[in-house]
Symmetry: C2
Subunit: 207 residues, 2 copies
DNA sequence: GTAATTTTAGACCAAATGTACTAAAAAAAT
DNA sequence: ATTTTTTTAGTACATTTGGTCTAAAATTAC
């Protein structure tokens, strides 16, 4: 049987994703899992504490994904695979994205962690792109810092596809993730070498 | 002397942008402009009515910009100019972007208008790109619907640069708009023809 | 100048929220 | 078996919120 503490986090995540943090009260969360609101407060003093706990869950899952991401010499396939998995995790905790301005406004701590994570993500992209260039899959830069600019583009995409999906898409989770993962991959296409483009166009799952 | 109705909209916009819609109450808005909250309610029955009025302001400014956008045969320069102006308007009403999921959740009417506007925007991009291809500034598609995919990319960017700026940037408004307008333009670069790229790289204001 | 209307403020209300306090019940430690 | 700690529910309170109702004040129309 699940402990109340887990139940609280589970239900909070569900409600935050569906109704938005501001529209969910401590009392409502407690009511939905049939415990008293004072019981909930015993476990988490404030709603912010719940958010911080959920954020930790997200970080744990993300770093686990990072750890298990193995070397792969097929650049596009590997990128697509990691993207799918990463997007899937993020989607589970999508309220962090759709409410990022609220959350960072109310919690300087989370904001700082968020900025840290972004830096790590950027350097991962940077490394992957550098490798792809060496492997002859991506072309060289055509102007100074072209790939830094590109990294900015994909960072913005990574932070915002979920918000777009919330407005434009009403299909099931899997379809949404697949759609936006493929769309993400396609941002790389015009930066590929001739050989890279050939390989890319052979991947049926992208079209 | 300004009418209260205008003052309400002005102050609401300011507070919504800075604190988020959910964190601003009818009473707070009224207090900040020294009127009674019942006076405010007389003008706008609910907070949602204020949002709808502000949304109308935004639409008006946007369509005005559209109307005055004149023909221009320098593709990149024209694109940059329009982008700057458009981004500037959107930034004034940035809470619509940062809170889009909340707002569309609570107002089906605004959601529908939003979807309409997106369609118009997409078709504008589509037309501009088609023209650029004809003018020999942008290259032809390298796979089917490549530019439809690209339009998806720039739509997502257009909807989300503001959220990014709220988290990552703490400079002044003008710098933020300039930064993200230039970043936007650079998404087009890899789709340009050789000639297009040459012209692009000559534009000092981009680097 | 008077009547009609629009605008404004103030008092009041019911519902919801975060929070604090107390005590009982359950679980763990000894 | 008992003591201690952890977990839980209940109650109560002050604050805030959206909203209604009434009446005065200001503005406009005639």
């Amino acid at each position: 049987m699940k402990k109340n503490k887990e139940l609280i986090l589970e239900k909070s995540l569900e409600l935050f994703n569906n109704q938005g943090v501001a529209n969910v009260s401590i009392r409502q969360i407690a009511a939905e899992i049939n415990i008293s609101h004072s019981n909930l407060i015993y476990h988490f003093k404030t709603k912010n504490d719940i958010i911080i706990a959920l954020h930790q869950q997200l970080l744990d899952k993300a770093s686990e994904l990072n750890r298990e991401t193995k070397e792969n010499n097929d650049f596009i396939k590997a990128l697509l695979d990691t993207t799918r998995k990463g997007f899937d995790i993020l989607y589970q905790y999508r309220f962090f994205i759709t409410e990022i301005t609220h959350i960072t406004r109310e919690s300087e701590a989370i904001k700082q962690i968020f900025l840290e994570v972004e830096k790590i993500r950027a350097s991962m992209y940077r490394e992957a792109i550098a490798n792809a260039v060496i492997q002859g899959v991506m072309r060289a830069e055509l102007y100074e810092k072209e790939y830094e600019t590109f990294i900015e583009h994909i960072k913005i995409y990574s932070d915002s596809w979920i918000s777009s999906s919330q407005i434009y898409d009403d299909t099931d989770t899997d379809s949404i993730i697949e759609k936006y993962a493929v769309l993400f991959i396609k941002m790389f296409f015009p930066y590929l070498t001739e050989k890279g483009k050939e390989d890319f166009l052979k991947l049926d799952e992208l079209f």
